[in-house]
């Protein structure tokens, strides 16, 4: 299974019936494809809609219905559109159940850095700081390493997105839960050993007696 598919499929299992969910642009967006059958969640796009649906077929694009990346989207019956204050009021006010974001680094405090690399890449934080500070549950979906460099670190070296501890980190190797005691290794990807996860991780991992494989099955 492709690494990104592994991550997206595992994250999808975290979504619960009725949740309001915000998926970041890129990998997190693909989580929507792997929702378990029978689970209905409501997708928010922070540019101002609840009820976003997949890109419609060619020719049916609505000129003024787009996601936060500017791409065309659809809308479910019962969708609601609103301004940016309402959109972030929902996020900051604790009304957003889950946000799934990409990450550059996560550390032993569970803090996330995902919005800039000083001197190299300064895209701006967009809605990320509000999402990480405000969502009820923050799930980071990222590759475990980048070009061989660890991304799960003792302390983030890049500027933080928020001082808030994220709730879950899902990579192609593992599911890690940041806690008050540190990073707890909860699951391994299919076929991956605990030792392999530890070897790819700079941060100290707390390893419980049982670290099951992710229950994501074999294929889509």
């Amino acid at each position: 299974m492709d690494d990104k598919v592994t991550i997206a499929r595992r994250v999808a299992l975290e979504l619960r019936e009725g949740d309001l969910v915000n998926l970041g642009i890129g990998l997190p967006t693909t989580v929507a494809r792997y929702l378990p059958a029978g689970v209905t969640v409501h997708f928010q796009s922070e540019n101002g809609i609840i009820g976003m649906a997949p890109v419609p077929e060619a020719g049916l694009e609505a000129e003024f219905l787009t996601d936060a990346g500017g791409g065309y989207i659809g809308a479910v019956p019962g969708a609601a559109a609103f301004d940016s204050c309402m959109s972030f009021g929902l996020i900051r006010g604790g009304h957003l159940d889950v946000t799934v974001l990409g990450g550059l680094q996560v550390d032993e405090l569970g803090q996330l850095a995902n919005w800039m690399v000083p001197g190299k890449m300064v895209p701006g934080m967009g809605g990320a700081m509000d999402l990480v500070s405000g969502a009820r549950r923050v799930i980071v979906a990222m590759t475990h390493t980048a070009k061989g460099e660890a991304k799960v670190l003792k302390r983030c070296t890049l500027p933080l997105t928020s001082v808030r501890r994220v709730d879950l980190l899902v990579t192609e190797l593992a599911v890690i839960e940041p806690t008050g005691e540190g990073l707890v290794l909860r699951e391994r990807a299919p076929g991956v050993s605990i030792e392999q996860v530890i070897a790819a991780t700079e941060a100290h991992l707390i390893v419980p007696e049982s670290v099951p494989e992710m229950a994501i099955g074999a294929a889509v």
Binding site: N47, G48, D67, G70, D83, S84, R92, G124
Partner: protein, 221 residues
């Protein structure tokens, strides 16, 4: 006195060095005719407050391309490499603000509030040089209000009085900016007689709107 003006006349009101709130999110819901006319008339040294700078050649990106922007207050420039290049080269000042904070700061400016107390950014580089206020045991960042000389909006409909409504995700920052511009100019997709927009569907009451762009040769798509 009608609020309808040509796009040429509207942009003539904007002096060099003006501060502009410009609606839109990745160009969706931006006043594209007004932006194109700002470029045509070469209005320069602008301070632009907007969610993003879209991309080169599109929306606010056109102002960046033409080097008309001295300072950009925005949440995201990741989609516009030219903005990033100008920032790193020191040609354009860029002030990065979390998106939800940017929205509330504009509303605070428009609604006469002294600022925004937000948890967003506490403990990060965004908090540098800013006051923190503790309320009920929680720490909040004091973010100051934002206003500008002009607000340049895109809307779905304007009625003859200047009442506005919006289209789906083209709403975004537009109704907030309508409260915070010294002069508010809306570029409507459609102009309708007064009374066509029901009172409950008006999003921006006409008293906030100074001018709207009339239909013209460049209108339509």
């Amino acid at each position: 006195m009608s609020k309808a003006v040509s796009v040429t006349r509207a942009v003539e009101m904007v002096p060099d060095g003006a501060s502009l709130l410009i609606g839109g999110f990745m160009g969706v819901g931006s006043p594209h005719r007004v932006i194109a006319e700002l470029v045509r008339q070469g209005r320069k040294d602008l301070t632009v407050i907007a969610n993003d700078s879209a991309r080169p050649g599109f929306g606010i990106g056109q102002l960046i391309d033409a080097r008309l922007v001295r300072k950009l207050v925005t949440s995201h420039i990741g989609t516009n490499p030219e903005t990033q290049r100008q920032m790193i080269a020191g040609e354009t000042e860029v002030d990065l603000v979390p998106q939800g904070t940017l929205a509330e700061r504009i509303r605070a400016g428009g609604f006469g509030l002294g600022g925004v107390l937000t948890p967003t950014g506490v403990g990060t580089v965004v908090a540098e040089g800013k006051r923190t206020i503790e309320v009920d045991g929680k720490v909040f960042l004091l973010e100051e209000p934002l206003k500008a000389d002009f607000a340049l909006l895109f809307c779905r409909r304007a009625d003859y009085l200047g009442n506005l409504d919006y289209f789906l995700t083209a709403r975004n920052f537009n109704p907030l900016m309508a409260t915070a511009g010294g002069t508010v100019i809306a570029e409507p997709n459609e102009i309708v007689p007064t009374g066509v927009i029901p009172p409950d569907e008006v999003v921006t009451p006409h008293v906030l709107v100074d001018h709207f762009i009339e239909k013209g040769a460049s209108h339509g798509r």
